[in-house]
Symmetry: C2
Subunit: 242 residues, 2 copies
């Protein structure tokens, strides 16, 4: 059984378009390359109850959850408080993280920075040796910052550790619109539970009208699914395959 | 009281990265320009129960819900079935839409295309005169296709009809990191319930270290919030304002 994942993007600035979302976009590609089934992405507001509800829901249903945003020192940074609430644990000072912050901020240490050392009870610090600032992990939830370049740098640490069997993808480009083969495709998709079929019309190219994708983890099953579809359609419709 | 909105992006192809998400990105900017508070965006898989649950939840909490994707003629197009389930109504042939499809497809009309004429009972068709293909609306849920150029063309029809008082935004660019003013900002944010304060560190420019935003619908309250923040910080920190 493949691992699943959910992404929680936290921040009013993303929902108002003040900041263009880049982290989910990056994680979507990464998780696909790692062979992990991404089940859901949510962009939500800076609200403790909302964040807690989404984290609790996804953590109970998916193998991994990744949050981005809401981990600085200002009033709108409430991700860790919300994660503590999601798991019904208190938030408390983490001595290791506190020491790191003291060393970094020195005399500029204040109440706002002190807040950054508060973690849900039971949280782990991943990559303490390898990263400049560790990844906070609470149960199956990995907490990432909202700043894209920090998220990317930190995610590299997890990539090899969480990767699974990659997906196999076959693409068939057709000269006809999807209504011509929709019935056949529906029937075939029903016969292959472990293969994912997609049909994507395109209107901005003359080369083809629809792309059909056949995808799964078992290459031989993907090939069977592809061949079943090719056998069901008029072969002259196929523009190319990839 | 301002209107709120939620966006439901439907399709496995978005979660696997096979198709880069463009519709939520577009709608985020549009809704902000229209003065509508976007509360949540969810990217979810082609699964009837999942779509129904998200639509039901958002429709009960927000003024408007916009769905994108899952409205073609193939097996993975299940948005309308799910919306019917969300509102506990049957799905049935819409005579107006059926007639349009018959005229368009002519002899190529088949069972798969017939499915496209099935709508939740009670659904309305918006823009019948103005658009080539109407927007399906079920209660407060607007159903859009996944193909970005179609979504954009259709959304233009709703823009003027749903627009509200626009937001006012003040931006203050600072030469210091946010830990220097986090406590002051938190205190001020607590005093202005109707003004939204944000603090965004930047690491890829030398011009400033943090951008603080002050935002709301009432320009005089936004100005008061901005002035309260400016009065609380060292004036030499301000690089520029916008």
């Amino acid at each position: 059984m493949a691992s699943t994942a959910g992404i929680v993007v936290i921040g009013n600035e993303v929902l108002s378009g003040k900041v263009e979302e880049e982290n989910a976009k990056f994680l979507i590609r990464e998780l696909y390359a790692m062979g992990i089934d991404l089940m859901r992405v949510a962009f939500i507001r800076d609200d403790v109850d909302t964040i807690a509800a989404d984290v609790r829901d996804m953590a109970s249903r998916f193998t991994h959850v990744f949050t981005t945003g809401g981990v600085g020192s200002t009033h709108d940074d409430m991700t860790l408080t919300a994660i503590a609430q999601a798991f019904d644990v208190p938030i408390e000072r983490n001595p290791t993280l506190h020491q790191m912050l003291v060393e970094h901020f020195g005399e500029r240490m204040n109440e706002a920075v002190e807040r950054m050392a508060l973690l849900p009870r039971g949280a782990e610090l991943c990559g303490l040796e390898e990263l400049r600032y560790p990844i906070v992990k609470m149960n199956n939830v990995y907490v990432f910052p909202g700043v894209p370049m920090f998220l990317r740098a930190k995610f590299g640490f997890l990539r090899a550790r969480l990767a699974e069997t990659p997906f196999v993808l076959e693409q068939i480009f057709l000269s006809v619109s999807e209504d011509r083969f929709a019935e056949a495709l529906t029937a075939i998709a029903g016969r292959f539970d472990d293969v994912d079929f997609g049909s994507y019309p395109r209107f901005d190219t003359d080369e083809f009208k629809t792309k059909v994708t056949v995808e799964g983890r078992d290459a031989s099953r993907v090939a069977e699914g592809r061949d079943a579809f090719l056998a069901a359609i008029d072969p002259t419709w196929v523009v190319r395959r990839a």
